[in-house]
C-alpha cells in the first residue's frame, strides 16, 4: 500500500507540473500566431495601459479594446499633436467647412485595408452614418446634427448638417475622441446593436501592424509590409513586433523597466525622477524632460466640491478651498516634481494660447492661507466635518489627499480624507452624496470646449451618470456660452476668444472646480534596445510618448514609434 501511495503522489505531481505546458502551450496552436517568439532586438515591449487581458479589438468599445486597436490597427482621419497644438492629416488629406452646415473631406487614394480591399469614401460614409443608425456608438450624439453623408467619387465625402455643430464635429475628427475609420465591407454585416460591443477578434484595419498573438499576459502585433504612410509620409516602423504587457504591480513594473525587459512603461512609478540621469544614468532610463516636471501633462486634477450641498454651495467657501491648498507642496512632496501645479484656469499647457492673461491676473488664485481664513469667515462655515473622497489604491492621490486635508485643517476647515473603493466613489459622485473629491478631466483636446462642457453640462440629473458636471453646478449662463462655442465657426477666432475669456472669468469667480495640478503623461523609456524616444531635447522626436487609449492612434504616439531607432 505504501508503494501505491508513493506512486499516486508522484503521478499527481507530474501531472500538475505538466498541466500548464499542455493547457497553455496547446492553446497557443489555435491562436493567430505564426511566430513562436519575439526576438529581443526586433521587438518593442510596452506596458502601463492594459489592466485586463486583451480580448477585444473593437475600436468603438472605448475603454475595453486592447492596447493598439486604435493606432496600430485602426486609424482616424486626422491626428492631433498636443505639443505643437496642430492637426496632422492622416487617412484624410484635408477637411474644410464649405458652408456653416457642410464639411468636405478629401481622402488618400492609396490606402488599403489589411485584407487587400481599397479604403474609399464608402468606408468613411459608413463610419459617420453609424451616428444615426446605432445609438450605442460613442459619437451617437452627432446623429441629431447630421442631415446627410454624400460620397463624391471614390475619395471625397461631403457631410451635411441640419444645424451648425462645429465642436462636436471637430471632436469626431481629431483629439482624444477622434473616431477611427471602419471597413464598410466587413462591418456592414454586423447588426446595429452590436457594432459598439462585439469583440472583433479578427480585426481588418488600415494601420501599420497586424494582430499576431494574444494571451492573458500580453497582446502582440506584427509590422505590416504595406502601410500607406511608408509611401505617403516616408514613415516606417523599424521593429517587427510590438508586445504590450498587461500591468502588474508597481514594483514588478519598475523592475522590468530597470532590467530592460520593458522598453516603454506608461505606469505611474513613484520616485522615477531619482532614477533618470545623473548618478542613475547607468540604468539607461529616460523621460520626456530631463528634469522637472519630467513628464508631459496629461490631464487636470481638480478638487471637486459638491455644490448641491452646504457649505460647498457657498462661493466664498469654495474660494477658501482654492486659497487654502498649496499644489506646489503636492508636486514636490507626493510626486517628487514629476507633475506641475495647474494654471488657475485649469487648462492644459497645450491650450495656453486660449488663456486670457488679463483674466488670470485679475481673478486668479494662489496659495494664501490668510486670505483663505478671511473667505472662510465670510462664508459662515460652522465647523461641519468635510470629507474628501479618493479611490482606494490610487496611492499618489491618497498621499495628495493627506496633504490637502492638512492644508484645509490649517485654515480651520474640519476636513477628513476617506478612501472608498473605486466603484463606491463613482456611485457617490454620480449620486451627489460626497462632500469633496479629487477628480480629473478627459485629457488633451484641441480646444477648451471639452473642458468647459465637462464642467457646465446641464441639465443636472438625479444620477449624473456620464462623467459630466459631477460637481453639480447650475450655471445656465456658462452653459449657454459652452453651447454657443458649438455654433461659432472655428474661423471666427475673435468671437471664440471672447467666449473663452468670459468662461475663464466666470469659472474663476464661481469656482465650480478647483484646479490643483496636471497629472503627467507617465512615460519612462529604457534605451538599451531602442533609442530616439520622445524628448524635449533637440531631436527629431517631439511626439507623445504614451500608449493609452486616445493617445496612441489619435495623438502622435504612432509617429513617436515610427521615429524609434535600433540601439547600436
Amino acid at each position: 500500500m505504501h508503494k501505491h501511495v508513493k506512486r499516486a503522489v508522484a503521478a499527481v505531481l507530474a501531472a500538475s507540473l505538466a498541466a500548464p505546458a499542455f493547457a497553455i502551450g496547446g492553446a497557443g496552436a489555435s491562436s493567430h500566431a505564426t511566430t513562436t517568439s519575439f526576438p529581443r532586438n526586433e521587438t518593442v515591449y510596452t506596458s502601463g495601459t492594459a489592466y485586463s487581458p486583451p480580448t477585444n479589438w473593437n475600436p468603438l468599445s472605448i475603454g475595453a479594446y486592447a492596447t493598439g486597436t486604435i493606432g496600430l490597427l485602426y486609424e482616424p482621419l486626422f491626428l492631433y499633436d498636443p505639443t505643437a497644438n496642430k492637426t496632422v492629416p492622416w487617412l484624410a488629406t484635408s477637411g474644410s467647412w464649405t458652408s456653416p452646415t457642410s464639411f468636405d473631406i478629401k481622402l488618400r487614394d492609396n490606402v488599403t485595408w489589411s485584407d487587400g480591399q481599397p479604403f474609399t469614401a464608402a468606408d468613411v460614409a459608413y463610419t459617420i452614418g453609424l451616428a444615426k443608425t446605432s445609438p450605442t456608438v460613442p459619437y451617437a450624439n452627432l446623429g441629431q446634427y447630421i442631415a446627410d453623408v454624400q460620397q463624391v467619387g471614390k475619395y471625397e465625402v461631403v457631410v451635411d448638417f441640419s444645424k451648425p455643430a462645429y465642436t462636436q464635429w471637430q471632436n469626431f475628427l481629431y483629439g482624444n475622441n477622434a473616431t477611427p475609420m471602419l471597413p464598410a465591407h466587413v462591418w456592414s454585416k454586423i447588426s446595429a446593436s452590436a457594432v459598439a460591443s462585439f469583440a472583433n477578434p479578427h480585426p481588418v484595419g488600415t494601420g501599420p501592424m497586424l494582430l499576431d498573438e494574444a494571451n492573458a499576459q500580453e497582446v502582440a502585433y506584427k509590422t505590416s509590409t504595406h502601410w500607406w504612410a511608408t509611401k505617403d509620409l516616408g514613415l516606417k516602423l523599424k521593429f517587427n513586433y510590438l508586445v504590450d504587457i498587461v500591468n502588474g504591480s508597481n514594483n514588478v513594473e519598475l523592475g522590468q523597466v530597470l532590467q530592460g525587459n520593458i522598453d516603454l512603461s506608461n505606469n505611474f512609478l513613484p520616485g522615477i525622477s531619482k532614477l533618470v540621469g545623473g548618478i542613475s544614468s547607468s540604468y539607461g532610463l529616460q523621460t520626456y524632460y530631463a528634469k522637472a516636471p519630467y513628464m508631459l501633462s496629461a490631464n487636470t486634477v481638480w478638487l471637486e466640491p459638491n455644490i448641491a450641498k452646504a457649505p460647498m454651495s457657498n462661493v466664498n467657501f469654495r474660494k477658501a478651498l482654492a486659497y487654502a491648498v498649496d499644489p506646489r507642496q503636492i508636486a514636490s512632496v507626493v510626486y517628487s516634481n514629476i507633475v506641475q501645479p495647474a494654471n488657475p484656469t485649469g487648462l492644459l499647457p497645450n491650450l495656453a494660447s486660449y488663456v486670457d492673461k488679463g483674466v488670470v491676473a485679475k481673478s486668479g488664485f494662489s496659495y494664501n492661507p490668510a486670505k483663505a481664513r478671511a473667505l472662510l469667515k465670510a462664508s459662515g462655515y460652522k465647523g461641519r466635518t468635510i470629507t474628501l473622497e479618493v479611490p482606494n489604491g490610487w496611492t499618489d492621490w491618497m498621499a495628495a489627499a493627506q496633504v490637502i486635508v492638512g492644508d484645509l485643517k490649517a485654515v480651520g476647515i474640519n476636513a477628513r480624507a476617506t478612501f472608498p473603493v473605486y466603484n463606491t466613489r463613482v456611485a457617490d459622485l454620480t449620486n451627489g452624496t460626497y462632500d469633496l473629491a479629487l477628480d480629473n478631466n478627459a485629457g488633451p483636446s484641441a480646444t477648451p470646449w471639452a473642458y468647459y462642457d465637462r464642467i457646465y453640462q446641464l441639465p443636472i440629473q438625479g444620477k449624473q451618470t456620464a462623467q459630466l458636471n459631477w460637481e453639480r453646478v447650475n450655471d445656465p449662463v456658462s452653459w449657454a456660452l459652452v453651447q454657443k462655442l458649438g455654433t461659432t465657426p472655428p474661423t471666427s477666432t475673435a468671437a471664440l476668444q471672447s467666449i473663452y475669456a468670459q468662461l475663464e472669468q466666470r469659472t474663476l469667480e464661481t469656482m465650480p472646480v478647483i484646479p490643483l495640478w496636471y497629472n503627467g503623461a507617465w512615460a519612462q523609456y529604457n534605451t538599451t534596445y531602442w533609442t530616439n524616444w520622445p524628448s524635449a531635447a533637440p531631436s527629431s522626436n517631439h511626439y507623445t510618448p504614451v500608449m493609452w487609449g486616445g493617445w496612441l492612434g489619435q495623438d502622435t504616439t504612432i509617429l513617436a514609434l515610427a521615429a524609434l531607432k535600433t540601439a547600436k
Binding site: 498541466a19 505546458a21 500566431a33 492573458a216 502582440a220 508586445v243
Partner: protein, 330 residues
Amino acid sequence: MRRYFARKLLTYFLTFFVAVTLDWGIPRLMPGDPIAGLLAKFQLQPSSYAALHSSYTKAFNLGEPLWRQYLDFWWALLHGSLGTSIYAYPDPVTTVIEHAVVFTLALLLPATILSYLAGNKVGAIAARRKVLDNTVLPFSYMLTATPYQWLALLLAFVLAGVAHVFPISGGFSYALVPTLSWAFLWSLLAHWFLPFATLFLVGFGGWAIGMRNLIIYELDADYAHFLESLGAPRRLVRKYAYKNARLPQLTGLALSLGTIVGGAVVTEIVFNYPGIGWLVLQAISSEDYFLLQGIFLFIIVGVLLANFVVDVVYLLVDPRTRIGLQGGTR
C-alpha cells in the same frame, strides 16, 4: 463504511450549498454599480451612456430582481456556465478560470504535498538530535512565521532583482508565444520556481516544527519506553512514533488548506503569476461579480475535494478508524 461515506457526502453537499449561496451573495454586497464603474472610464456623452449602460446591464443579467438572479445562477451553474466576465469581457468566466487554474494547480499541489512530506521527514529526524534540533528548529520557526508575501518579495528581490537568476514576473516569458516547445517549457519552469519555493518554504517550516514536537511527545509515551526496555533498536521505536505522529499532522493538513490557498493568492500577486490568486485581485478591483463567484466556487470545490482526499487517506493510514468502521473492536 458505506454509512460513513454517506454521512460525509451529505456534510460535503450541505457545505457546498451554503458556501455557493454565500459565494453568490457576498460580491453583491459590495457597494457601487460595476457597470457604472466600467463606463465611468469611457468619458461618454449622456446619450451614448444611457444606451451602453442598458445594453451592458442586459448582457450581464443585472437588471433582474435578486431572487431571479439567484435562481438563474443555480440553473446556469448546473449547466456548466458561470456567466460572462466583466474584467475579460466578452470571454466567459469558465474560459478565464480555465487558463488560470492550471498555473495555480501547478503551484499548489507540488508545494503542498512536497512541503508536507519533506517537512514531516526533516522534523522527525530533527527530534531529540541536539545538533539538528538546534539548527533546523529555529530556521523552521522563522520560515513558518514569515508572511508569504514577505518571503516572496525577499526571494524576488534577491534571486530575480539582484542576482538575475530567475525572472521577476509572469507565468512564462513575454518574448514567447505559448507552444509545445522546449524553450516554452523551460520558460514555464523558470517562472514557476520562485512562487513554488515561497509556498514550499513557508509550509515546510510549519510541518517540520509540528512533526518534531509530536515525535518528542510520542517518544515519551508508555509504548515507546516499553519497546526500549525490551531492547528494541532505536530506529524501530522511532518508526512507530512516526506512524502515530503523522495522524494529527494529517488532520492539520486538512485544516490548513484554506491558509495555503490564501498564501497562494498573495504569492501569485507578488510574482504577477497568472493563476487563480492573481485573478482574485483583478476580479475584486474590477468588481467582476461573475469572475469572483467563479473563482470562489472553484476554491470551494477544491478545498472540499482536498478534505475528502484527506479523509480517505486518514482511513488508509489509521487502522483504528478503518477497523472501527468495519464493525471491529479496538
